[in-house]
Structures are given as C-alpha cells and as structure tokens.
C-alpha cells in the first residue's frame, strides 16, 4: 500500500463528509465558527485542523447551503452565526441517504473479503 495514495482518498472523503457534518450540526441549532470547529475536531478526524472549518464554511455559504448573521455576544465582540438554509436541508437529506448506502456497501464488501 502506497502511503501517499492512502492520504489522498482520506482527504477527499473527509472534505465531503465534514461539509455535511457541519450541516447536520446546524440542523439542530445555529452555531458559530469556533463552536463548529471544536465540535468537529472533538468528533475525531473530521477536520485536519480547526482552521480548516473556515474555508469549508465559506464554501457552504457560497453554495447557498448556509446563511450567516451577526449576533451580539455577552463575552466579547459580535459573532458570525451560521444557519442552515432550505437548500442546505435538502443537501443534508440527500447526503444521509447516499452516505448510508455507500457506507453499507463498503462494509459489505470489506466483510465479504474477510470471510473469504
């Protein structure tokens, strides 16, 4: 197994999954960059570094999947809050279906290989 190839597929997978994980968090409640970064980092291996959440969020916003508003915060300067849009909700639902299908398919093949 070539180490370089291994890294590439994981990076791609991470990028696609991380975006939708952010959408999933936002489905429950609006959130801001710092909180989202910590949530994903704590979930384990979803982001290469907390900072990478920001280009990801910018991308989601450009694609109209999330909206931003500024909210005053007691602790300090106003924060940029992210919120799921209708398009974001639709994208998340579609991803959930596709992801489960994909995950099950990969698991099945991996298990089959193990049994043989």
């Amino acid at each position: 197994m070539v180490a370089g190839d291994e890294g590439v597929w994981l990076a791609q997978l991470r990028r696609g999954a991380a975006e939708h994980c952010v959408l999933a968090v936002l489905r429950h409640h609006d959130s801001y960059g710092f909180e989202l970064a910590r949530t994903l980092a704590d979930a384990g291996g979803l982001v290469a570094g907390e900072g990478t959440i920001y280009p990801l969020l910018a991308r989601l916003r450009r694609r109209g999947l999330v909206d931003t508003t500024w909210r005053e915060s007691v602790e300090g300067p106003p924060r940029k809050y992210y919120r799921l849009t209708a398009a974001g909700e639709a994208a998340l639902s579609a991803f959930s279906v596709e992801w489960r299908r994909f995950r099950d398919a990969v698991d099945d093949v991996l298990d089959e290989g193990g049994q043989q």
């Binding site: 960059g33 290469a48 570094g49 907390e50 900072g51 990478t52 920001y54 280009p55 910018a58 300090g76």
Partner: protein, 210 residues
C-alpha cells in the same frame, strides 16, 4: 490591534504565514478568511484563561492547524456548480476584460467575443460578469459611439451661426453653450466607469488551478 506581548507576536506571525499561503485568492476572500481565523484564535485565547502565555498560544495555534492545510482546503478545486457551471478557466478568458474594453472597435465583433469568453468562464462570479457586460456594452467603442457623436454634434450646432433676415447682420445664437461641455463631462464620467469596470474584472478574476 498592535501586538503587545510575545503571544501576540506569535499570532501575528501565524496570520502572516496564512496570508502568504492564501496569496492566489482574490483580496476580499483572503481577508475574510484571515479575519475568521484571527477571531477564532482570539476566542480560544480568551477561553483559555492564559491568553498571553506563549505555551498556551502555541498549543492553540497547533489546534488551529498548519496554514498550508487551511490554504489547501481553501484552494481545493471544486466541481462546477450553480452559477459556475461548465467552462474550465483556461488562459483564453484572461483576454475577456480587454476584449470587452477595446474589442468594440473591431466592428463590435471583438466585444462579442469577449462577452462570450466572459460568460463561459468559471473564473468570475455572475455578479462580476454582469458588471463587466453592463458597464458598458461594447466598451469604449460603444461609449464613443453613443455619447461621443451627440457631444460632437451639439458642439457644432452651438457654434453655428444663423443669418437672420435679409440685410441684417448675421446673428449668432449662442444657444445651449453649456451643452457641449456637459456632454464631454458625461462622456468622461462614463469612460471612467468603464475603466473601473475593466479594473474590477481584472481584480476579481479567480484562477482555480494550482
């Protein structure tokens, strides 16, 4: 904010490295990203209770990640979507802003070619494409044609003198003396707007290849 402590300097040098890595991005996107990361770091420092401790800040910066990784995530090539559907941004579309500015002089065809290049390119957003096409149609040639001719003809009629009645001295009617000057001022203003539109296209061109 002026860096006051060693920790502030660490953060500043980190943000500078990030800015360098984000060099290829359009200015406003780069600034936005650096500002977001700066806010993140500030929030982490505030929450740590040891905002000025270099070791704490170093740990925070490590969690934020390598600036190269953030830049890589930003510059990742995305599949064409939405308004940016189809049309890889090749070298050809770099000519679009110039064709839009000057191409009108080639019987308008050059401008049309520029417009086609612009519309098919994925290197500009829809909003920027609209600016490039509407300000102004057929570029300098269009401006000169629509405004330059009337301005010139107003100038000639205003200076024209009409002879009035038989035997009497020719009376020059200095009608609308201000018109030609006004026309030229409007013309100059529109040319400036066109120049700004070309500059805007050049500035916001986004290259997606690394």
């Amino acid at each position: 904010m002026k860096p006051r402590t060693a920790a502030d300097r660490q953060v500043r040098s980190y943000l500078r490295a990030l800015e360098v890595h984000l060099g290829p991005l359009p200015v406003h996107r780069r600034r936005q990203l650096v500002a977001d990361v700066a806010d993140h770091i500030a929030e982490a420092r505030d929450g740590s209770g040891a905002a000025d401790d270099p070791a704490t800040v170093r740990a925070i910066l490590e969690r934020v990640g390598d600036p190269a990784d953030i830049a890589a995530e930003t510059l990742a090539v995305e599949p064409p979507r939405g308004e940016v559907a189809g049309g890889a941004s090749g070298r050809g579309d770099a000519w679009a802003p110039w064709l839009l500015l000057l191409g009108g002089f080639a019987l308008g065809i050059g401008w049309v070619v520029g417009a086609v290049l612009l519309l098919g390119s994925s290197a500009w957003r829809a909003r920027d494409k609209a600016i490039g096409l509407l300000l102004w149609p057929f570029g300098l040639a269009g401006i000169l044609f629509l405004l330059g001719l009337p301005a010139a003809s107003t100038a000639s009629t205003a200076s024209g003198c009409s002879s009035v009645g038989p035997g009497s001295a020719t009376a020059c009617t200095p009608s609308a003396h201000g018109a030609p000057v006004l026309g030229l001022v409007v013309l100059a203003a529109v040319v400036v707007v066109q120049a700004a539109s070309t500059w805007w296209l050049l500035r916001t061109r986004h290259s997606a290849r690394w």
